[in-house]
Symmetry: C2
Subunit: 229 residues, 2 copies
């Protein structure tokens, strides 16, 4: 029987590539997405298409209401900041698009599902290169989460299996991620990155997430299939 | 300004006592409860009354659907096991009432709220004495969570404030918890412990949670105000 892996999927470039990598390692894929009050809920549709295209065994969408707490431009009525280029973003500031505790909550749900399925790994597409400076994307956070997870669950007592948090993109640039995904057959036309898409699902091209995407495709020398408004 | 504390509240003896202890330390209380598909949702009503009686500044109830993953008698259509006495429960087995990742998910939400409020502590009424053998009630889990939490959040980068996970009951027996709460004015008549209450909200008296409660009141020499069916 193949090992089971939970893959956190946001319908974007990084998580889709992480899913393709898990698949290339022979894992049986259980895709997990969240409706968390994000204004860019179009990513849920993208995550469904990605899971299907990569042959996921199951795809669950969990409703969690992070708007109850507030504190982020992605969930509140705060405008998503726009910039001309990536270099205009202050790299020393945690941006207003940061959602408090988001990755911790996502990983905690993944941990619950992993325990029930007896999955041995959780894939998360975080990267410490070309990223937005979110504290919960750093390697030291992932390591601490993995340690905690193995104490939190049944396996922490029975030692039956150990849960690994896999971050295959952690040291890759956006361009490298895109090259890897293209090699593995990811259809990036199915993915979406924009924090502020229009009603037709087209991307703004000027939020930090779009800018990272555009720069990545450019550096990889690959045509960006995204429609921008 | 008083320090803010998030208190995880299930409407039971332990979390209500933890809230009273936080209050006695001068904390401003932010009570947090979860509707997680538990069959004993009467505990949500109890948690509201407790928060009110202990003067909480706010009380939030978060909907999370742990039934999507299954794997527990508290959320699935599995009968809650009944016993004659506490000694009939196999202490070396993790019981079927264990809900995978529950405390991790609860603490992750608390962490999100703490970050937004700039609260410096989260109180959780776990105890390593007279408990049900759940892996996510052990001190080593709490320590690992605290370490992870301080890396996961804005404070992990800015070093503005450190988040403490407070477990004031960790080394107390149920009887000691009850004595402490009575000293601090907790009205245990407002609390509920039963995993399998009847339609009138009365307790079964024979699930593991009721048995721990009954034993605790008996050992403390205090009258149990609970109605049993």
């Amino acid at each position: 029987m193949p090992d089971k892996a939970i893959v956190l999927s946001s319908g974007g470039i990084d998580s889709s590539t992480a899913m393709a990598i898990a698949k290339s390692k022979g894992k049986e894929i259980y895709s997990l997405s969240f409706r968390y009050g994000q204004r860019h809920s179009i990513e849920i549709k993208a995550s469904k298409k990605i899971a299907q295209s990569l042959g996921a065994k199951a795809h669950k969408i969990i409703d969690i209401d992070l708007r109850q707490f507030g504190g982020s431009a992605l969930t509140d009525d705060i405008n998503v900041p726009k910039h001309d280029t990536v270099d205009d973003i202050d790299a020393n500031q945690i941006p207003i698009t940061y959602v408090p505790a988001r990755n911790t909550i996502f990983l905690s749900y993944a941990m619950a599902w992993a325990e029930v399925l007896k999955a041995t790994s959780i894939y998360i597409g975080v990267t410490a290169v070309d990223y937005s400076g979110y504290p919960d994307c750093r390697p030291q956070f992932i390591e601490a989460f993995e340690k905690m997870a193995n104490l939190a669950t049944r396996t922490g007592i029975t030692k039956e299996a150990v849960l690994k948090i896999e971050t295959p993109l952690i040291h890759l640039s956006k361009a490298d991620i895109i090259r890897t995904g293209v090699d593995l057959g990811v259809d990036y036309g199915l993915t979406t990155s924009c924090y502020d898409p229009d009603a037709l699902g087209r991307s703004c091209g000027s939020c930090e997430s779009c800018l990272h995407r555009i720069k990545g495709f450019k550096e990889a020398g690959i045509k960006d299939p995204t429609l921008y408004y």
